[in-house]
Amino acid sequence: MSPLHLCLLLSTVLFCIGLAAVLVRTSAILVLLGVELMLNAANLNFIAFWRYGPGGDDTGVIFVLFSIAVAAAEAAVGLALVIALHRHRRTIALKAANQLRG
């Protein structure tokens, strides 16, 4: 298997681990961390394609920089949401945030 494929495989595995956490875990914080992990996996793809791709373009690296910046913002807002959830519901279990249930 070529290095690029290995990188992609690694990022897929990380993505799936994050996805599993998002789908399974009850804690809102862990769900957020899962999302972060999925973002990181995507970033790894960008870097891998930048490194092994046909070349001539540095946009991949720039994109990852932006992605990191936005992910930081996402983490801040997400955790603020968790704190707000905790204030209103006294728990951080995502199940508690079901005000929109039918």
Binding site: L14, A20, R25, T26, N43, L65, A73
Partner: protein
């Protein structure tokens, strides 16, 4: 394929899995920090130094702090340092893992067999100066937009996390289920 890559990949996968399985939130966060460091190492290995260091600063220095803060602020009781999450129901676990498995079953073979154009030889070099020129040149608009997004999200996070007074409580917040009604009189 270098040994370094395999070692870093191993670190990433192991710590990430452990983080997602761990029942202790603090351990999860700290293990995930290791994953992030591993990813930063992978970026370094790929030759993207600047991205690697940025990843380390932002995630290890910033995001992890926020996560730890959130964990400490949302402890259920003041004198309960261990954060144990109530276990998910069996159905939930099974459904979630099944969904993940479906996605993985789709993605992994695709990743392995995809015919990709690849460059042979050493990877591209990218100096910090070049990154700066790219950011201040063709991507300037994106930089400005990200700046605005960061500002707005900072303000939004502040607004969300700022303590509310009793009058500010929304009308619908009359305490969901009985269990959640705990110590309502003590806003954190």
């Amino acid at each position: 394929m270098s040994l370094a890559f395999l070692a870093l990949a191993l670190v990433c996968v192991v710590t990430a899995s452990a983080a997602m399985i761990s029942r202790n939130l603090i351990h999860s966060a700290l293990l995930l920090v290791l994953t992030w460091i591993g990813l930063a190492g992978l970026y370094l290995w790929a030759g993207a130094d600047f991205v690697g260091f940025s990843q380390a600063i932002v995630y290890v220095g910033g995001v992890s702090m926020v996560v730890l803060f959130a964990v400490l602020l949302t402890r259920r009781q003041r004198d309960e340092p261990l954060v144990l999450i109530p276990e998910a129901g069996v159905g939930r676990v099974v459904a979630g893992l099944a969904a993940t498995f479906w996605v993985a079953a789709l993605l992994v073979p695709a990743m392995v067999v995809a015919p990709l154009v690849q460059r042979a030889g050493p990877g591209p070099t990218l100096t910090v100066k070049r990154i700066g020129e790219l950011l201040a040149g063709p991507h300037l608009v994106a930089v400005l937009v990200v700046g605005v997004i960061l500002t707005v999200s900072l303000i939004g996070a502040l607004y969300l996390a700022a303590p509310v007074t009793a009058e500010d409580q929304p009308e619908w917040d009359n305490g969901g289920t009985g269990r959640d009604r705990g110590n309502q009189e003590e806003p954190s």
